[in-house]
């Protein structure tokens, strides 16, 4: 969505004239992340008995694609450029999956509300080995903030730890490495998801129907990868546990460019309390893979 007028027109066309004054001010600046494939994923999703997990040609392609990118460049997948001294995040000894890194010198200035730092980088990891549809147990994600020059980042060599999945008798190798995609960043305006704490109750039902009907006009064509803004799916699980004090930090779609496949074509939603965001406490980030 490019302008408030665009939403106002859509609302009027949908017969929601009375809601224009309430809903249009809810539009928030966001940054759309448009991914372009750079390398396929270098390993099989699951190791079979006696099988090799690495795909040699894909691994070579990934290594070449990584070599072509400077440290800290915004991208999905591959291996992270870690802050100096930082370990690859793990949960219960199992290394998490690296999904994205964002160059804040590029992303920060695109947000007129200045919610992000304007230097350094943010790295996103998540834990596909445990359920992420709710947050009833321990952390399912890690977000690392590098507050320094990109030149000091360290391109990581992934650990390789064997672990037993509940879905396979063959030990799997963690972390799973995703394909890699370069990113173009575009400032946009975002509207709340169909079920969202940001929408007043008296128009919630109308908004839910309307949002589902004109989803693509509001959110843009899929895949919908977004920094800031709102979670664009319907929050049936109270993922916004702090209500309107929660801020979507990053939304990642199951995007073919990086061969992302989260659940069954789901998205990942990284949420953070806005106060934690303001004090740069990215360790407080939570992740959800489904909102409904």
């Amino acid at each position: 969505m490019r302008s408030p007028e665009e939403l106002a027109d859509l609302l009027r066309q949908g017969g929601l004239d009375d809601a224009v004054d309430t809903l249009v001010p809810l539009l928030r600046p966001a940054i759309r992340l448009v991914a372009t494939a750079a390398a396929p994923r270098p390993m099989c999703f699951r190791r079979e008995p006696g099988g090799e997990v690495v795909v040699p040609e894909a691994l070579e392609a990934l290594e070449a694609a990584l070599d072509a990118l400077p440290l800290g460049a915004s991208r999905f997948g591959g291996v992270p450029d870690l802050p100096p001294g930082a370990a690859w995040p793990a949960r219960d000894g199992v290394p998490m999956e690296f999904v994205a890194q964002l160059d804040l010198a590029e992303a920060g200035p695109l947000d007129p509300e200045r919610r992000l730092p304007t230097r350094g980088s943010l790295l996103f990891f998540y834990n596909s080995q445990w359920d992420t549809h709710d947050m009833v147990d321990e952390a399912c994600c890690a977000v690392l903030f590098h507050d320094g020059d990109n030149a000091t980042l360290v391109r990581a060599t992934p650990p390789q730890v064997e672990w037993k999945s509940e879905y396979s008798d063959v030990p799997q190798v963690a972390p799973f490495l995703h394909g890699m995609a370069t990113l173009a960043l575009e400032p946009v305006l975002a509207a709340p998801g169909g079920v969202s704490p940001f929408v007043p109750e008296d128009i919630a039902d109308d908004w839910q129907d309307f949002q589902a009907e004109v989803f693509e006009a509001l959110a843009g064509p899929p895949p919908n990868n977004t920094l800031l803004g709102y979670a664009d799916e319907q929050d049936y699980v109270d993922a916004h546990e702090n209500g309107v004090d929660d801020q979507l930090l990053l939304q990642l779609d199951s995007d073919d460019a990086a061969e992302f496949q989260f659940g069954d074509c789901n998205k990942l939603f990284f949420l953070i309390h806005r106060e934690a965001l303001a004090r740069r406490d990215f360790a407080a980030t939570r992740v959800y893979s489904q909102l409904g």
Binding site: P42, M43, V54, L59, L62, E63, L66, V79, D92, G93, V94, Q129, T157, P158, P159, Q160, V161, E162, W163, K164, S165, E166, P171
Partner: protein, 315 residues
Amino acid sequence: MDLGEARALLARHDTFEKGEAVVDGRLELLSDRLWEALLSLEDAAELVTVANRLDWQFHPRGFDNVELYERYGDGIVPFLATRLDDDGILHNVPWCVVPCLLRCGSVEAFDLAWRVVDIAGRTPWGGCGDADLLLSWCQRHPEVAREQLAHKADAKAKALLFALGGPIDGAPTEDAVLALLDACAARQVDTRVELWPGPEVREVRAAAFRHGDDWGLAIEHVRGTRPRGLLAAHVVTCAFGPRVEGPVRGATVASRPVQDFDATELAARVGAPTLALPTLGLPRDARLVGEAVLARPAVPSESPALAGLVAQLCR
């Protein structure tokens, strides 16, 4: 259902099957009726007699159904025991067998769980999931488990006792260290990480360190065939000791790049034993008390070479 009706219904059937039953003109599942009858018998002894006679071809409702236990208590164990075959496979048919066994807290239930090698017919929910049945049982009934395990002197019992909270701090003892290793090798620890080299690993290098009362033991092998690159061969370190921070108390697994890919000897490929010190949580001046390259032991306490190294560690 009253007792007479239950007995009459069950007397007419030799098979517990889904089927159909007409009750007051309504069509119901026969299995629901039979189940209700089974829950309406006089006592556990009668239930065992009837349940043992039935050919179980279907299940009660609910993966985590523990109604038999709630109705009859541990008296159902003799019936549950009939689901165990001569190979130690517990057939979870009906699928309330495992959930009920986990609820039963008697010595008889422990004895049954002890004999189970594996489960056929695990369910997506209920029971112990894909975890070890015996460990799950012991975690639910730790007092009975500790008492019974103490009577058994073998490695499996010692490993389980360790998993239930054996000592790890203080000066090491051979029993405690080997119990920790056995527990990890037998996956009797509550983690999904592989804390012992898998059966495909032929050779490991073991290195033992002391630093005062603190100690550390690293079991290392090389994994992978690529000499360089993003996914180059690496050293896998299974680390044990009181200073080890990991998914379970006193044990973790980590990896690092291979020191010399082209070397022919494992020790040279893995590199100096001191490279494991950070994973062991020990300082650089920790004392190497011994190292050995040995064939991967499936049961650590049964390896003379490893037991010898542990004895050195504990001296």
